[in-house]
Symmetry: C2
Subunit: 249 residues, 2 copies
Amino acid sequence: MAALAGLPIVRRGDAIGSLVIEALQRESRVLKQQDVIVVAQKIISKAEGRVVALDSVTPGELAREWAGKTQKDPRLVELILSESKRVVRHRPGVLIVEHRLGFVMANAGVDQSNAGPAGQGEHAILLPVDPDESAERLRAEVFAATGTDVAVVINDSFGRPWRRGTMGIAIGAAGLPVILDLRGQPDMFGRELAVSISGFADEIAAGASLVMGQGAEGQPVVIVSGLVWSEPATTARELVRPEAEDLFR
Amino acid sequence: MAALAGLPIVRRGDAIGSLVIEALQRESRVLKQQDVIVVAQKIISKAEGRVVALDSVTPGELAREWAGKTQKDPRLVELILSESKRVVRHRPGVLIVEHRLGFVMANAGVDQSNAGPAGQGEHAILLPVDPDESAERLRAEVFAATGTDVAVVINDSFGRPWRRGTMGIAIGAAGLPVILDLRGQPDMFGRELAVSISGFADEIAAGASLVMGQGAEGQPVVIVSGLVWSEPATTARELVRPEAEDLFR
């Protein structure tokens, strides 16, 4: 598990796959099958032009109402609500929503940090339109250029109920099973394992987030090698627990 | 990040520190400062004798009541309740509680898998009495034997609201800051980072859980190298969000 050095600052329209391959070549690193390329959501969103100038946003009545309740910038709240199905919790400074993709998260993932150079007005970054599709596109770019069958995870930092601090979570995935279902495999003493559906892509996202966070700044791509799986690939949408199964909605 | 091979099956009274050091020596591996030894909760509990024969448990009235509601073994429910402050959610097959240590988790972490050889009656494993203290003890054993200042994380797999699959989480820690508070550090464009309290020990626990899960069976110790920190050490208790801050209790 190692961060990729030498990645340039990502701009709108960039093909992340090409940037990753060029950076790997500069390091003389070769991708292997089942390597997982973990990419921070922020650079995917930037490449896809999901950056909005706050000056261009006109908050509606609902946004102004929630902005009052949470003491947040009404333009930011307008963007958050435009990305959300519903507000789950709020208090001053905090707006937790169900994102249109099903993620329960703070501010619908709308982020003001790193959005662009100072002096050009305030910007915000939204999540990619379809992070699973973004992951699949990156995977296809890498396959086209190298012939190597890698997997891709797009991660973002999520807060959690009951625990302090954020953890990396997979919001997009391609080329790997996001969940490993170990039910039915006997444990060391022959008894069936009871609870053993593991959030494989989320654990990859968290481990990579650890490495991303270790740099002084800007280590948005991490390559995870050495994992193995035999299950068919699924997408990060599968990690969202269906409402009917969920005891916490 | 690599699993430690050759660890024997852990028995009551074992000093995990000695087992780890012996296994490292067989591999000619040397621990470095700020290496993190991640240990699965299960072997800590076994070493500390936190294994209970279900035949020895007499369920009380409350346990029988909850067993009826959840269709679980009343003896198991008795153990779960004895480890819990309160029941948070339930449905058939599922009992989510607030553990006496503050963790919101399924079955208070009481686990029937891997508890012991078949034919000796059914057993269950409880969480360590004080996982932070268990971590500190292991850290002290390693320091006494090697003079190297390592960190220790004890992890367990937790389900999460809203998302499918479990993730590794830190239930005990010693020798490292469990949370990294990056607030106030400027981002790449000089703006202050907004949300950047990261659950450092939880991300370590999740990444290690990924590696533990990759073995056919029984890879309960993972060594994570290459991380750096300068903040003072805290304990895993710090990861439990105080009730007053929590929007989901």
